[in-house]
Amino acid sequence: MYAVAEVIDEDCVAHKGCRLCIMYCPEANTILFDAEKKVAKVIEPSCKGCELCVVVCSAAKHNAIRLVHR
């Protein structure tokens, strides 16, 4: 079992310009902006489960990204 990040689409405010998780995720090409749905999207196979995205998203009080176990 390992942990990966997952965006909660309804709570994500990427449509208002938020890019915090995309900006601070240490892994390249791992959180992308989904231009269709206007939310952040995690590319699971390259996520290392470090939780930094969760930290920055919840510090901004969006709470729109969480770790899930696979």
Partner: protein, 297 residues
């Protein structure tokens, strides 16, 4: 220049790896004004690598690659250390030098490129850890600055030798105890930015990677000034969370805690007069007009 250089022959398109196809279609080679804001919306020039989960060196790498003004005509020179685990997965030309030799290799490379391509802009950018830059490679680092080589040197300062388990480096803080430095560091953190200034660097800056817009400015300035004027030096705090006993999500906070007023990574910047004049000359036209208007008036 554009994506011409990396374009795939139509006959071979389908057998190329998906990652390469994405680079050709979606990466920002040749894009005017490329920068960190492109991340998340275009293909980044790094594939999966083996740095620890949450490693700030990994964040720094993303910003540096997103901000290179001319990636298609840039050659990066790396050295041994955690950074060398990333270079094989980077879509910008790069050379791995023997530990410590990076600035010597970069000097030769820059000269060879200017003979071979006299009419082209070719940027040479060194990126190495603090052990490589300040201890084992200090001779090569300094000599390249004395000689006024037109290269940009970026040091990922994690204040120890991370890749070999946490020995002390010249950039470690005095008194710091690490796994392989149990007696504590005996002398002060070497003031390399000041040494760089005294050794002839035209642009010197030290900062953490907690603010991508600042990193972007530093990297662009360093590369543009190195292209036209002379050597430049950027020192980025990229804490080794593993060796300083932090959790994997604590790297960003560690950087924020170390950059306030009076802290050891408080933002520092030095620009020589010559470099300042050059930056002004290439500043966006609007600003330049204002400067001329003022002088005329």
């Amino acid at each position: 220049m554009s994506k011409e250089k990396i374009k795939i022959n139509r006959e071979f398109y389908d057998i190329m790896p998906k990652e390469y196809q994405e680079l050709v279609e979606d990466a920002t080679y040749g894009k005017e004004g490329r920068g960190w804001k492109d991340v998340g919306e275009s293909k980044e020039m790094i594939e999966e690598h083996s740095l620890c989960a949450g490693c700030p060196e990994s964040i720094a790498f993303r910003y540096v690659l997103a901000c290179l003004p001319n990636p298609e005509d840039t050659v990066m020179v790396g050295s041994t250390g955690c950074t060398s685990l990333v270079f094989p997965h980077v879509a910008v030309h790069n050379i791995h030098s023997l530990f410590g030799n990076q600035n010597a290799v970069a000097s030769g490379l820059k000269r060879a490129l200017s003979y071979r391509f006299p009419d082209k802009v070719k940027d040479v950018v060194v990126l190495a850890g603090d052990g490589a830059t300040v201890d084992i490679g200090l001779d090569m680092t300094l000599q390249s600055w004395f000689r006024q080589e037109k290269i940009a040197t970026i040091c990922f300062d994690n204040e120890l030798y991370a890749n070999t388990g946490g020995q002390s480096s010249g950039l470690m803080q005095k008194g710091f105890v690490a796994k392989m430095a149990p007696a504590g560091k005996k002398f002060d953190k070497v003031d390399l930015p000041e040494i760089a200034r005294q050794s002839g660097c035209h642009y010197v800056t030290m900062l953490t990677v907690s603010k991508p817009n600042r990193v972007e400015k530093a990297i662009r300035n360093a590369i543009l000034i190195a292209r036209e004027i002379g050597p430049t030096y950027v020192q980025l705090y990229t804490p080794c969370i593993l060796e300083i006993g932090k959790q994997m999500m604590e790297g960003l906070q560690e950087m924020r805690d170390s950059e306030g007023p009076g802290k050891r990574f408080e933002f520092k910047e030095y620009i020589s007069d010559e470099a300042k004049a050059y930056l002004e000359s290439i500043a966006p036209k609007k600003k330049r007009k204002k400067v001329t208007a003022q002088t005329e008036g």
